[in-house]
Symmetry: C5
Subunit: 327 residues, 5 copies
């Protein structure tokens, strides 16, 4: 691994017998990329695809070169969300040029380590095997990102049934949107890998294609997970709506209970607050002068509310049926 | 069936004329698997797929070996939910190596029994027929699991219309998520079996492929059931939302009924509770001094509530239209 | 049509020049089916598919025999719902063996009639034409079933908008689930018929395949109807939810109307029910001693409610906007 | 254009060098159709497809005849909804037989006109070109029908947001159902035209197939529009549900506002309506005898309501946030 | 670039060795288009497709001419919404005829500039390369339009959770409908470009097809974005419904709180407003004459409301759980 600063320094390595991997970090200045284009003899369309990010992941043949556009995701340090950047591969007979959009982070660390240590067969194989290794590490980079979504969804499942709050809704929507973004990245990558296996006969050895088949399986697995998580998130949104409705029912029950019990009582109290003149007629509110009038009135009121409470208890209103824990 | 503890003990059987079935229970230590790899001459990618669970079910050819990754589900003893584990098949000319992720349980019991008893033609046929038998028992293992979901959905159907409670919502969501998991298992298995029938010409006899076709039909049937159950569960979620709305209407009707009847009555009582001075003017609350004032007041109040009750009865409020049984 | 009780009685007919149709009603005992298997020389997998109902509809070739698994639906006498059973066809050169799961009912009546009467060309043609006739009557048997769902959906459409009740919701859900079941039957049958047309070159004459094409069209038509009805049912569920919301709005409007009008009035009455001592100060409730105090108070109350009623009338609350007829 | 009443009158034209178009209006009696069948030498299945309406649109070859089943829609005079009928084409070497289900209306007027006027090349070309012209006028007949739905949807869009009423819901559901019916007609027609282009090599000249390609494009365009309108209608249903919820919020706000303001006031009035005896103790309602008691009480009540109104105004309750115009 | 007014002025250029681009702005009069048709020898169907807008984007071969129908979108100056118009390409050996529906605006500016400046290789290449350049600028014209939707959706995401108002709902629905329109434009264009790459072997050089492949990638990318935005908009609609439900809960909580606290208090006040005659019996409202009667009554009322407030606080009603910011 030799750090070089000027593209031209790479020239001697290209004609060498051995396999060269040139890893360009960051899109840099247009000028540098043009010089790279000259050195590697890149088609103008290839240069355009490398520079004009984001491109859709794809694979294309240009003469004896293979252009592979991929999208690399890296988990953010905070453990929530991910960075995404374009990584372009140009695969020639005995060289591999990779161009990364963002210089700061990538998931090529383990591959570099294996090259440095000479571990495995990576040093003794062709550029196509190296490309496979890098591609595989890009695809495998989706798994840790997906796992965080899996965990977050599990947390949300508890939250949404037990105690749905404001942020729950926002979180579900955010997850759905980010899963859509992941899908937009991995879907065309799967197609690109599939096209690579099918078409790339000249530049890839049979062995490399067998490895790519494995890489393809992983891409499909990522896609499966994304789709499953999206459906779980959609179902969670439905559960959220139902939970909101349940909580509303709970409120309503509370209001109806209080109102149903006290409104009739208040009416009774109101009746005996009327000022009909008992002196004007024996029919005018004789109750007011009864010996047991007031206690009787309380008795009636207590019986009324007891009756209503019994009625509500019979209909099961005191079971916390709606499923919102309120602790 | 000879239990062996060290991989090397299997060597003599591999060269035998007869068909050998080596069933590895549990992924064990990496070392044991490497030795197995050496004995069976496994490709590094094959070993990787066996060890790095979960892999997506698939079928792949490696020279004269066929790798088949499957996913086996076993109903939990509690009758709710299922265990899932990866079973890898490596099919050679005259041997079959199966590696199970979990050693405790599998659904190979009946097949072992048939081999032991020499029942049927299983002992006189090739390794491919044995692989079919095991694969068939894996696919058939999905049916009992699905049946429990079918029964649970039927119970939920009653529950959701009659008396939707908190756990109903959770149960529906859980079923949806678990059906998604089942689909993620059976979908690629169907594709794998289909690929096996189409491509596996060298290692499978025509007879075995005819049997596999049957196995494929069962996989499709499982998938059909999963999809149907998923749609039933989705529809149940909609019914739940409507039921919650219905229950709310019921509460609202209760509240509106009580309020509509008692609020006007309370107002009337309030009016005759006013303290306008009848002495100051003949127009100030002469009703209070009427001979029939108080009974008349009651008559007005009773008529008002009777009128309102009649109005509500005419509009059909006393039919329990909303469909929530409240027992 | 000769009723036979023992399978062996069928043997002499099989070698005859003429076409024989053996119709087995009910799966009977395992023993009888095994003997049938011997007579007709059935592959073990064929026997298994016949016995282990339900199988997915499919077509498969076994040497010079064609196995066709179909699913027959029969409208229940009550006109609601349907019976479903598996009918297996084994088509040989000059015989047709059909095995029905349920002996009680089938839709083969008209075909039997045509054979008995010698009407049409059915007696002079091969076993393949007979198979077509039976298959056609099975496919056509879906139409009356579907028509009942079409009618029920139309009724529900009125019900759901005009007066949604408890059972409406249950009915829609039931229809959705039963349509799912119908789809699970007809979808693979369509595929099976299509495969029959495409592959069954040896056992079917060109003429029979032309007839099957017609049968295929009917299967597709059934599928179209099922899908359309499912979407109508889904849309009805949405309409139901909206109707429930509308009815709730209606209740809410009622409550708000009553409350908005009477709560302020009750407040006014409450004010003049206060006992501030007019003797303590000229500012203490002088209204109570006004000559026109009480009539004025009524005037204020009537004006308040008239004003509120006018306000609500202006906002259109008295139009029955929500679309629930309440008769 | 010679009107004939008996099928046999058509015979002399069939052998003529020139192209004959026999247009049968209405399915008439079975007898007439059988005679037609004899004259044109129609396969029994063809006759069956013509008579047993509705068939699914399709194209089929019968020897040197081509059967084309299509579905013609005609806008109702009222401008709402459409008639639908089956039109069957039987295309021979030098004749075209069309059978219309309904005699009253069709969309062949312009084609007849062109023939009568000898305009364009229609008279000098073969039967296949004539069939194309008729088919094209059938496909183009979908556009005016679709346009009415487009306009209706636009009206509904305004209605649903501004002032959703009862009929809105019904209208949306009706449109969805009718669009489903249109799709069921146009979808198989598209497939039929596509099959015609692909397979009808013997009966169609290259020129005619080029014209059919144009017709196919129009069918696809119709299908595109149907699908788009269906999705707009679905989205409108969602908007309707939200609007109903919004209106409910509006009602709720009204109720909460009135209640929150007057319930506390009524309580205060109630307090000073209590009859505690001021003579029994100096602590018993001394307020009643204060010089400023009554005005102070009003001040407290006015301040309370002003405070509540200010609180609600701060929370933005007086903005008509919910989007229901109430004029 | 020579502006010409009469179609015939174009004739001399067509036979020239060099490549001619005739750009017709606006559909003009039928007569002009017919003369154009004669000059360029256009098939009647081509002329029809050019004139009868809107046609579905497509590609078709007519002898040595290639017809390409495309749809061009231009962002409105206001930055909201877009114009859409049909642009038809007729590609011959050494000429390119483009017909634009609307003369006012197009997105060909940069291409014209490159031709005028002789920049790049555009002047030295064939008509197919020119067609590619124009097609590419049409496809790239979708991106700025999509970006405005992306931004609008992001704004709406904030709005819908924080403070959903009336226009939010309308905006989401409008975006959904306009995205449907965009999809209807770009979907068939993708297919057309794909068909062009696959079939246009005679008129396109290999180089041009490589460029078209890039153009195809961009069309797919546009389609991806449209689909993603549509799903985000659908999810937003769900979030909106939930937000409306949340706001309703908030209102309900407010109402229930006020009612639950004041209704019992009003009842107590009502009780002591009753007029039972204390002189008639020692049991008639003795409280009224207690020394501490009134303060005790207040104490009971204050304790009741404190108890209720504590109860509600315990249940977490004072957390703003519902997620509607009310500033």
């Amino acid at each position: 691994r030799i750090p070089i600063n000027e593209p031209e320094e790479a020239i001697p390595y290209l004609d060498a017998e051995s396999v060269s991997w040139v890893d360009v970090k960051g899109l840099g200045s247009e000028d540098v990329l043009k010089r790279l284009g000259n050195i590697f003899n890149l088609h103008p369309l290839v240069l355009e695809d490398i520079v004009n990010v984001p491109q859709r992941p794809k694979v294309e043949e240009y003469g004896d070169q293979l252009l592979l556009i991929t999208r690399m995701v890296t988990l953010k340090d905070s453990g929530r969300g991910f960075f995404t950047e374009q990584v372009s591969f140009i695969l020639g007979k005995n060289y591999l040029l990779t161009v990364q959009e963002e210089p700061e982070y990538d998931s090529f660390g383990p591959v570099r380590e294996r090259i440095r240590l000479g571990k495995g067969t990576i040093r003794s194989r062709g550029a196509d095997y190296l490309a496979y290794c890098l591609l595989d590490s890009i695809v495998d980079g989706f798994f840790p990102v997906l796992e965080t979504y899996g965990e977050e969804l599990e947390e949300l499942e508890d939250e949404v049934v037990a105690k749905p709050v404001r942020t729950t809704l926002e979180k579900i929507h955010t997850i759905k949107r980010e899963l859509l973004n992941l899908r937009r990245s991995i879907w065309p990558m799967r197609d690109a890998i599939s096209a690579l296996i099918r078409d790339g006969e000249d530049l890839l050895q049979d062995e490399a294609r067998m490895y790519l088949r494995d890489c393809y399986d992983h891409a499909v697995q990522v896609l499966d997970m994304v789709e499953t998580y999206r459906e779980v998130a959609s179902s969670l949104m439905d559960v959220y709506v139902s939970s909101v409705g349940n909580r509303m029912n709970e409120l309503m029950k509370q209001l109806t209970l209080i109102s149903s019990i006290f409104i009739p009582l208040t009416f009774i109290a109101g009746v005996y607050g009327m000022n009909f003149n008992p002196d004007a007629s024996p029919w005018n509110m004789p109750e007011l002068n009864w010996y047991w009038g007031y206690p009787l009135c309380w008795a009636v009121m207590l019986l009324t509310s007891a009756g209503l409470l019994f009625y509500f208890w019979k209909r099961g209103w005191f079971e916390n049926y709606s499923g919102i824990r309120e602790d």
